[in-house]
């Protein structure tokens, strides 16, 4: 039975999972959810994710939501292949992966998501004007987080160590969109962060996902 991922390719959270699925070479079907028609708030979708957000995943009887738990599930399910994004065989490395996954969740994401929302979602989906005060406040916070990353990346090639892990992967889709805004300078101004971004975004699995990240592109 094939894994079904409910979501849309241009969504940061759906694409985060897509990147993980591609890293593992997993077979899956992307089932579109019509956000414009409010499909994600209808009973059929709420039965999959009571918070009414994409993505959701179905694998046989198992239904999951929250992109980071889905990516973790994929990594666990396909453990033992040549891909190892959780480092489960080495408890210390696994603990460091968990630490930097929490950093992405608790430090990075809350700082970057208002920039993404104001710069891209508000003008494109709502035809509104970005709230510059929110952007400026978030850019300052994100700068401080990236200063910590800059220092960390002087002692290891990737965030959790010298190995690519889910901790790095979870950053891909927000940074990809950030680079479409003037705030991409926050990445470009920090040489090690920039080099890390160039490395992780050039991975074949992400190259399959990036073309779908079309929000903000002029048609």
């Amino acid at each position: 039975m094939t894994i079904k991922l409910y979501g849309v390719a241009m969504s940061t959270c759906t694409a985060k999972v897509l990147a993980c699925l591609h890293e593992y070479g997993a077979e899956f079907e992307l089932v579109p959810v019509n956000l414009q028609n409010g499909e994600h708030k209808q009973p059929a979708f709420l039965a999959k994710n009571p918070f009414g957000q994409i993505p959701a995943l179905e694998d046989g009887d198992l239904t999951l939501f929250e992109s980071r738990s889905i990516s973790t599930y994929v990594a666990e399910k396909f453990k033992g292949s040549s891909c190892d994004l959780l480092r489960s065989q080495n408890p210390k490395e696994a603990a460091l992966v968990k630490t930097w996954m929490e950093v992405e969740s608790q430090q990075f994401s809350p700082a970057i998501s208002p920039i993404f929302y104001q710069s891209i979602i508000v003008p494109i989906l709502y035809g509104g004007s970005p709230n510059q005060a929110i952007i400026d406040e978030s850019a300052a916070k994100l700068g401080k987080v990236l200063d910590v990353y800059e220092k960390k990346l002087s002692s290891s090639k990737y965030l959790a160590g010298d190995f690519y892990s889910l901790a790095d992967l979870h950053h891909l889709t927000y940074i990809y969109y950030l680079m479409k805004t003037p705030y991409g300078k926050l990445i470009n101004e920090r040489p090690r962060v920039k080099a890390w971004w160039e490395d992780i975004s050039s991975r074949p699995a992400f190259k399959k996902v990036a073309p779908g990240l079309t929000l903000g592109d002029k048609n």
Binding site: F51, L64, E66, Y73, A95, K98, T99, V148
Partner: protein, 215 residues
């Protein structure tokens, strides 16, 4: 095995989250107080433990961890056979459900509840004025999350299944302070949520965490 040290402050919800796990697992550790009033969490030596300058931080030999939820996961996994079983190791599916609800706490419950704890508990403690608009906004957000919890807890005793796990534990500090504030009504008005909160906050390990504040 090298001795485990938890660097933190007993008044910090994040430190409390980590400590609850240590007490549930009944593992020995040293609690090293971080004097936040004196800015110790921003000192060079603390930043070498947690470059984000936040409590808690964890050390065991050359292993240094931070982020309370990473520390708890490490302890729950490493000491799976000791104390309370905080995971659901039976199958990939049960662990996936646990991971899911762990993310729900982190991304749905934590943001509004943390803001409410700041407004209703910490601000008064520090003689700062509560922002009533922020309280209203975050109570509304938390109410929507607790509606989902109410439905979930009608089908299982705890969030990830029928056993108390790390998922429930992660809620303890914020839930504890909110139950002592005007936001308590959000929990009281939802019978399954109310019963769950009463159950998890009555656990002996949680009482040990609260006792630390008395010293």
């Amino acid at each position: 095995m090298a001795v485990m040290k938890v660097h933190g402050n007993a008044m910090s919800t994040s430190t409390q989250r980590a400590l609850a796990c240590f007490y549930e697992k009944d593992v020995e550790f040293q609690f090293v107080n971080v004097n936040m009033g004196a800015g110790e969490h921003k000192s060079e030596s603390f930043l070498s433990l947690n470059p984000f300058g936040q409590v808690p931080a964890f050390e065991q030999g050359d292993l240094k961890l931070f982020e309370s939820r990473a520390i708890t996961q490490y302890i729950a996994q490493e000491y799976t056979d000791k104390g309370t079983q905080l995971l659901l190791p039976g199958s990939k599916e049960t662990m996936a459900v646990l991971q899911l609800w762990k993310e729900v706490e982190a991304h749905q419950f934590n943001p509004p509840s943390t803001k409410l704890v700041f407004e209703l508990h910490y601000k008064p403690l520090f003689g700062m004025a509560t922002d009533t608009a922020a309280v209203e906004e975050n109570e509304a957000a938390l109410a929507m999350v607790l509606d989902v919890y109410e439905a979930r807890l009608a089908e299982s005793k705890y969030l990830a299944g029928d056993h108390f796990t790390l998922v429930d534990l992660h809620h303890l500090p914020n839930a504890h302070y909110l139950m002592r504030s005007s936001a308590k009504k959000l929990f009281d008005s939802r019978p399954h949520v109310s019963a769950w909160v009463a159950d998890i906050t009555a656990r002996p390990a949680w009482s040990k965490v609260l006792d630390l504040q008395k010293h």
